[in-house]
């Protein structure tokens, strides 16, 4: 699993994740991901290129959102409507972390904090 970071306008950090966000993948990106959410206040996590999502991945996302939120910031997820989005819905994650299907809406979602 890969992690890449892009800085967007308005102080928003876009974190692009790629591959299988399973127990194995989460263990790879957990440390760099935690470093980003600890430093930044506006974070957009792009799951468009994520093909699989497990409960361990949800744990990583929730911990990240809690860290950003504790600083008065906001973490949102960009994810097309696919099986990964289905996992987020089934786990109730989408009720805790805003999930958007397009980048423009996601960027506006981060900025609204």
């Amino acid at each position: 699993m890969d992690i890449a970071v892009e800085e967007l306008a308005g102080g928003i950090t876009k974190v692009v994740l790629r591959g299988r966000f399973d127990t194995t993948g989460a263990a790879v990106i957990e440390m760099p991901f935690n470093a980003i959410v600890t430093e930044r206040r506006g974070v957009l996590v792009d799951l468009s290129a994520v093909t699989f999502l497990s409960s361990y991945a949800i744990r990583v996302l929730l911990v990240g959102a809690k860290i950003v939120s504790s600083k008065g910031g906001r973490l949102v997820i960009l994810c097309p409507d696919n099986n990964v989005a289905k996992v987020l819905r089934t786990a109730g994650t989408d009720a805790l972390i805003p999930v958007f299907q397009d980048e423009q809406a996601a960027t506006a979602g981060v900025a609204s904090s």
Binding site: S54, S55, Y56, S69, N83, K86, V87, T90, A91
Partner: protein, 138 residues
């Protein structure tokens, strides 16, 4: 399989190959891969990660549009069907971390049965080809 989370990557590749050979729908393939990952990760975590005595056996079969997955292990007794679904959190601040895995299995599998026999945990999950969407929580 050994009691090592590194085995999960090998399992993921194996089940993906099996689903492709059987021409399973992408939704059913995803559901099977998800439930297997959650079930085996639970066995490794609760059954004793790194314990060389722990053996996990996974079997899959498909018949008349129904895929059946059996996971058998000699670890500590653990019945995932008795794990309650986590309560719905009112806010991010109140949200508890964890307990989601079994809830996902219950939702993405059509049917989940557990039995303890001869000192072994045996979990049987079934997936119907027609059931492409997860069941509602409850």
């Amino acid at each position: 399989m050994r009691s090592d989370v590194a085995e999960l990557a090998r399992l993921a590749g194996w089940i993906e190959g099996w689903a492709q050979r059987g021409a399973l729908s992408p939704d059913v393939s995803f559901a099977i891969a998800l439930c297997l990952e959650e079930a085996v990760a639970n066995v490794i975590m609760y059954g004793g990660a790194g314990d060389e005595r722990l053996q996990i056996k996974v079997e899959v079969e498909r018949d008349a549009g129904i895929s059946t997955v059996r996971i058998e292990d000699n670890g500590r007794q653990f019945d995932p069907t008795q794990v309650p679904s986590p309560p719905v959190a009112a806010s991010l601040e109140d949200a508890k971390i964890g307990n989601v895995g079994v809830h996902l299995m219950r939702s993405f599998a059509s049917d989940m049965r557990y039995e303890r026999r001869n000192g072994l945990n045996r979990l049987t999950l079934r997936f119907l080809e027609a059931q492409a969407t997860p069941k509602q929580a409850g």
